[in-house]
Amino acid sequence: MPANAPAKNPPEERLVNLVVALMATDQGLTKDTILTSVAGYREQSEAGASKDALEKMFERDKESLRGLGIPIETIGDWADPDDLREARYRVPSAEYELPEDIEFTPAELALLNLAGGVWSESSMSDDARSGLRKIRALGIPVDEPIIGFSPRISLRDPSFPALQQAIEQSRIVSFPYLKPGEESPRTRRVQPLALVEYEARWHVFGIDVEAGGDRTFLLARIVGPVVVTREAFDPVLREGAGDRALRGLDEVAERSTSLLEVNPGTEAALRLARRASAAEQGIRVPYVDIHIFADELASYGPEVRVVEPAELRDQVIARLTAARDLNGARS
């Protein structure tokens, strides 16, 4: 739209006008009233825009605002709730506003400021900042900022936003998933329940529709777009899913423990120490993903030797062999 077209108001003005109008009414406004009186629609009504086009615009605006979390209520006909011709619309302020009884102490606000800053460049960083702004606008004094710590979470997986949206809406997703060692990806259909960062990698926890059981997928292995289907599932399934996912990962780590011998004082000894427990000969280190752990162990070269399990040892040997051969003398 050219800058010098004053006849048409910018859509954000219309959206905000609509919120103000819908909040100012208790009994609700009909669509007709909205289209002829709310600024943004009114001018276009008066300029002779078709009713059909205006109604479509109103539908889109409603969806946009609901996307922002604004609760637009539809009050239908008492006798026939499906008849929306005389429906009235309103935004109940109790559901729009941050509840009056929610107050934040200065210490809480300082902590939230720290928590809101953890996301590096990502949509989550914008969301955190926007959430903080809403809370800061309550005019709460803040304690001295918490200095000395700069916690960061990185989010490089492109599949994250779509999965998050699907969880919010309790809808089934499908995505191509490439398991290490397999030639090509397989499409998975999943009821996604929680996103979990575990040992610096993002996972989606959910119910695999075909397999019919809880599964945890590594986002780094989702090799194509995540499709959010129209198929919904019962949101009750989401309750406590995060705890279930964490328990599951912890159980995997407990079941899969390696026995390693490390050379003291080396990088391997230092980096593994925090996760290790002492064994009679060497150390025991749990892991959740054999491929990722084998990557790490291979990088330590002669600093670590895998005693068991055999599968882990074989994987490390395979990496070392390939690295040696690829970087060997040129033939």
Partner: protein, 320 residues
């Protein structure tokens, strides 16, 4: 501050809904400060404020709205002193609820903050989690950040930061002999589950960053820190060195190579990438080559390539 990405109409509407309560809370605020708070440019902030004054309650019977049905600001203050003061409101006075996503982003951040020793107690966190959940417009997607193990090294560093005293410790950088350091702690960076201490190193007389997993025998000293005000340079200084290396790998593997590529020059053709980068010495890339066994080939220098082959071979020797 996050990067300023282009805003769509819905984003701008969301900002305006937040702007009214913010301005009321502030009473009087400069354009610059408000722009900073909202991550927009001062010009965008001015435009938002001006736009606000044409917004108001619906007009009656086709008439334009009366002025007291519209938001209004003190125009003189805006024009002459770049100050924003809202003088009439017609709604939106209180902050909107958090969206599910905003709540999720803060909730996940809190889980990470919770792992820091001495920052907030359990009651504080529990209270905040409940408030955020109640302040959201719909149930946020669960985004969980699993806490990593916190050991005495981390506890002690946190204590040193609180008390403002130096710490002494043994540091073992990869492929280098251990050294004993005394450091004025400035900041702890936590990234990808790894903890790094940034501080003024008395031995090197400069700012240095230490990976806490490589720190041992850490002790508090009673030396008060003297370099707390030193400017902290970018905390990561990767790829600094005199050796220019070139590595080759399938382009699809690039995300798995990570930091190494941050300052590399990349050339990709037919799905194969060649990256050129500065590294500290010929040993720098051998761990990467082994980690990505068979995917990363070191092209030059030949000493680097040889080191990678020998490293892998020495690892294999253990299994013969």
């Amino acid at each position: 501050m996050s990067a300023r990405r282009p805003l769509v109409a819905t984003d701008r509407a969301a900002l305006m809904l937040q702007l009214v309560p913010y301005l009321i809370g502030k009473g009087e605020v400069s354009i610059a400060e408000a722009a900073d708070e909202f991550d927009v440019t001062p010009d965008q902030m001015r435009a938002m404020v001006e736009k606000l004054t044409v917004i108001g309650l619906p007009g009656d019977g086709g008439y334009w709205q009366m002025s007291n049905d519209l938001f209004d600001i003190d125009w003189d203050l805006l024009d002459q002193q770049e100050l924003i003061v809202i003088t009439n409101t017609v709604g939106l006075e209180r902050s909107p609820r958090l969206t599910a996503r905003e709540a999720a982003a803060l909730l996940a951040g809190l889980q990470l903050a919770r792992t820091i020793p001495g920052v907030g107690d359990t009651d504080l966190f529990t209270g905040l989690l409940a408030k955020l959940a109640r302040g959201a417009s719909s149930t946020p997607a669960e985004v969980i950040v699993a806490p990593g193990p916190v050991d005495t090294v981390r506890d002690t560093v946190a204590a040193a930061l609180r008390r403002g005293v130096a710490v002494s410790f043994t540091y073992k950088a990869p492929d280098a002999p251990p050294t004993t350091r005394t450091v004025d702690p400035i900041k702890v960076h936590i990234a990808d589950g790894q903890w790094y201490l940034q501080g003024w190193c008395h031995l090197r007389e400069a700012m240095r960053t230490f990976h806490l997993d490589r720190v041992s025998r850490l002790e508090l000293t009673d030396i008060a820190i003297t370099h707390g005000g030193e400017p902290a340079p970018g905390w990561f200084e990767p790829g600094e060195g005199d050796v220019v290396a070139r590595i080759r790998f399938p382009a699809t593997v690039a995300p798995l190579i990570g930091d190494y590529l941050d300052r590399a020059t990349l050339e990709t053709s037919d799905g194969i990438t060649v990256a050129a980068m500065h590294v500290a010495d010929e040993f720098s890339l051998r761990r990467l080559a082994a980690r990505r066994g068979g995917d990363v080939e070191i092209l030059e220098p030949s000493a680097s390539r040889r080191a990678a082959a020998e490293w892998a071979d020495a690892g294999l020797d253990q299994y013969r």
